[in-house]
Symmetry: C2
């Protein structure tokens, strides 16, 4: 057990706790989703030595006399640990260890930061980073290799765009990769060319990123271990005690297991493999059992049906409003999608399908309808992002147990861009959270970190307000698609667990589920959206052990 110093008394004594010691955390203002799906209040929680909730206590209930430790919550708000239903765990860690350009507001600011990072890291053979966004910079075009060359020409520089669907190289990186004017665009990708020429300009979109990625040195196992440790630290600091990892490679999985094997896996990971072969290699003939006391499970596969709106990779039914010659780049054919889903479902694996554009969502919904005849039972088909849905098809989210795994923060980040890409007439089914609930669908909320910050409280604030950190736009963007505070809590806790087949294991503070909880300084059911964003996380407990 690991305990950090804290304001609660008696915690130090727990280190030498005898077996089968039960603990009461009393005097809290507790909030959780219960067995019936209702948000309920409590004032005390008892958990056992296995780290599972034994019982909840309400004001006036007799306190049990058979517990070994009683901790005073000092009236703090207790919440279930937040669950991020869509993130990239290793990406969070690697991202945190790399150059981060997500806070830059202009090309010049970014170049200054890149220059400083290179000077600070003279030993790194490649300068790797992420987070740039030419839209946010107001550049009106992609940045170029030459702009990077002016500051670094002797080492390769390779910087991923904020949405992960494009990357920016300097000339050295392009040279090492051997990409020249002779390279055609790969299927599903695009090489941005210099004006009036076929020479690569510096930015590589979607499948074209692989041309450079393939020469970037692979991280060593110790780099991966460091990245996972960093990712767990970031998640726990944000009150996130469980996460769905969307696109686990065999290397990622081995890193998770190394951490689990040495007792260092502190965040619960619901894992979805990058592809069918990897899923089979990791899990075998069916999903793995829950490993390490409900800390890790490989449950299914993550598929990409299209790209992102920002890079115009998302596939749309009608052309992009701001680039009428394209409707996006499909990454799988309908037959490939169905075959891969079938293969997974046959072995009782879950499928989580990235679908951003309305054409992609349309195809996934149709595939689910077709497959549901054959693969009956509790399938929990997941659609990841579900950003732009044809309003005529929204009702399909209420059928076949579909789960819409959506990311509130994307709505605020994408708002202006989405309006440009889609035009004013196609926004009705965009980021349509309440519509999903209205037709009877299930919502699971996440961050898509490292694309967005791992900030579930900011996500909660957006979910109930459709406004950004500055309160913009006033009154909220398409505010009819906000959800209630209760729905936001469910989507970030119990339903995020349900979406990963983790109900019964964690996600709610109910008897038999893991005692994963937070003590925070304010009540998200009462505070204003801007106040919720400022929530201070005082303590984080996972499985009855204090982690922060």
């Amino acid at each position: 057990m690991r305990f950090v110093s804290c304001t609660l008394a008696a915690v130090a004594a727990l280190i030498a706790a005898p077996a089968a010691a039960d603990t009461l955390v009393d005097n809290v203002d507790g909030i959780t989703v219960n067995e019936s799906g209702d948000v309920v209040r409590f004032t005390g929680l008892v958990f056992d030595d296995d780290g599972k909730v034994r019982e909840l206590l309400k004001r006036g209930d007799d306190r049990p006399t058979d517990v070994d430790f009683a901790l005073d919550g000092e009236g703090r708000v207790m919440l279930p640990g937040m669950i991020d239903a869509h993130a990239h765990v290793m990406g969070i860690g690697f991202g945190a260890l790399l150059l981060d350009l997500s806070d830059t507001n202009s090309l010049e600011e970014a170049l200054t930061k890149i220059d400083q990072f290179a000077k600070d890291n003279p030993g790194r053979p490649w300068i790797l980073g992420r987070g740039w966004n030419q839209e946010k910079w107001g550049l009106g075009r992609f940045p170029t290799a030459e702009e990077l060359d002016a500051i670094i020409s002797d080492r390769p520089v390779w910087l991923q765009r904020v949405d992960g669907h494009a990357s920016w190289a300097n000339s050295k990186a392009i040279e090492v990769a051997g990409v020249t004017a002779a390279n055609d665009d790969p299927v599903g990708g695009r090489i941005i060319r210099k004006a009036g020429s076929r020479a690569p300009a510096g930015v590589f979109i979607d499948a074209a990123e692989a041309l450079v990625n393939k020469v970037v040195p692979e991280p060593r196992p110790e780099d991966r271990d460091a990245a996972l440790a960093k990712a767990q630290e970031i998640l726990l600091n944000n009150g996130i005690t469980a996460v769905a990892d969307m696109g686990t490679s065999i290397q990622d999985w081995q890193t998770f297991r190394r951490s689990g094997d040495r007792g260092a896996l502190n965040v619960r990971i619901m894992s979805y493999a990058t592809d069918g072969d990897t899923m089979e290699l990791i899990a075998g003939p069916g999903p793995t059992p829950w490993l390490y006391d409900d800390k890790l499970r490989m449950g299914g596969i993550k598929l990409y049906l299209d790209g992102a709106l920002g890079s115009r990779g998302a596939i749309l039914k009608e052309p992009y409003a701001d680039e009428p010659q394209t409707r996006g780049l499909p990454l799988m054919t309908p037959a490939q999608l169905r075959n891969t889903m079938s293969r997974a479902a046959l072995d009782n694996f879950q499928t989580a399908i990235h679908a951003i554009g309305d054409a992609a969502n349309s195809d996934v919904l149709l595939a689910i309808q077709e497959l549901s005849d054959t693969y009956t039972g509790d399938r929990r088909w997941r659609i990841e992002h579900a950003q732009v849905v044809d309003p005529a098809e929204l009702a399909e989210f209420g059928k076949h147990g579909v789960i819409a795994s959506m990311q509130p923060l994307h709505q605020t980040s994408d708002r202006t861009m989405a309006e440009a890409r889609l035009g004013p007439d196609r926004l009705e089914g965009a980021y349509a959270w309440r519509s999903v609930l209205r037709v009877g669908g299930k919502l699971a909320f996440g961050s898509d970190a490292p694309v967005e910050p791992t900030d579930a409280f900011a996500g909660f604030a957006v979910a109930i307000s459709r406004t950004d950190a500055n309160g913009q736009p006033f009154g909220g963007w398409l505010p009819s698609e906000t959800v209630s505070r209760e729905a936001a809590l469910k989507a970030f806790t119990s339903d995020a667990a349900y979406a990963g087949f983790a109900d019964g294991h964690f996600g709610r503070l109910i008897a038999g589920e893991r005692a994963d909880f937070l003590l925070v300084d304010r009540d998200p059911m009462l505070a204003s959206p801007s106040a919720i964003r400022e929530t201070e996380i005082l303590q984080v407990w996972v499985g009855g052990k204090r982690m922060r």
Copy 2:
């Protein structure tokens, strides 16, 4: 806990045993290697609820009164579980599920058996088998594709030779693989050609086997799980409670973990990866911890420096006596060997190097000498097989902590063939077990199963006699290289564990190591070699749990 019906009283009661229950197995004729490396006797053994030995008792010692269960060994001989220091775990399982030709004594007998197997398995797309040996058949040449075509022409047939260094295909398999007269021999391999032609004749040696192997359908995860279960059953039936797996692929490893994750790993596996990338993928920045209560650990890498004597792949200092134009096929350059050993040693991985011919052993010994300056400490460099050693270099086995991992049964199987390959003047350093001990080297004994049967008692009998199952040759082959019964026991138990860095975990019945033991019907320290081969294994216990 799993208990099978047995002659000992009170076992059924253990199923509902309380925590921290100690067990006394009394009235046994116990034999083990002790902490000092001596073979000692005892009459009672106490193990705790973790499955670890608490104490040994001698005749006349007071019996502890604080144990919860007392079992009567009825005077049976108790031995430590046998450890196979070199086997191919998945190969044992797959081999047992495939057509086995190892008992055939002629080509005609083999063809009859193949025909019957194909008729018994109409649904199998490929007829896969192993175990043929044209030497044993007295064929004087390799068998041909045409001989197989005469019985099966509509399905591919692909049959591995007994030593795993050659395979025999029918024409359908060659056609599916697309191998024609146009194919050159690959590096490190040979396509046997039809007389006076370049057309493939049917047999593919060493690296050339890959030409067909690449089109054999991969086993599914459930096939792998079945093979591992079968391998464990075979090992336990033979009294083998731990094994070094020589050449673990990532698929093998995942199969081991699936078994461990569901509590079905009953044989302890000391795992050595097939190559450096796989080792890094499986274990990360260093060896894994012992997993599943000392059931599994990835500790190093298995390298092949040459092939086998039978297929003339072993590399010799002078040409083969029976094929003077060849000295064998080196599979790594000296630089590759040293680089790979360095890479492993840098991260504290162990290296186990397959070296059969005297040239191969010479190179490994030299490499170890060179690397020992840099990689000091407890390295336990392993040489696998060490079959033919230049007598002038035998003393090197006493230096740098080298471990000779040798397989007694190979000596009896190879005797006639080795005499033909080497001629009479090069046998002095062949299968030279006692010489290794004489110069101060460590011996670890194994089977190389499925190349040889997983029969440690037969191996023990050969180790002390240098005679085969028929007692041939009378007086033993090069009998000065027999070892004592004590040395044989050590090489099949404590030193086989030591060779896998498992000392302190298992291999001896001493306090703190795992209670892995056998009850058998005779005393291998007293019985004749032929009687030892007939040892009846009455009970097999692993970690204090009865497995058989």
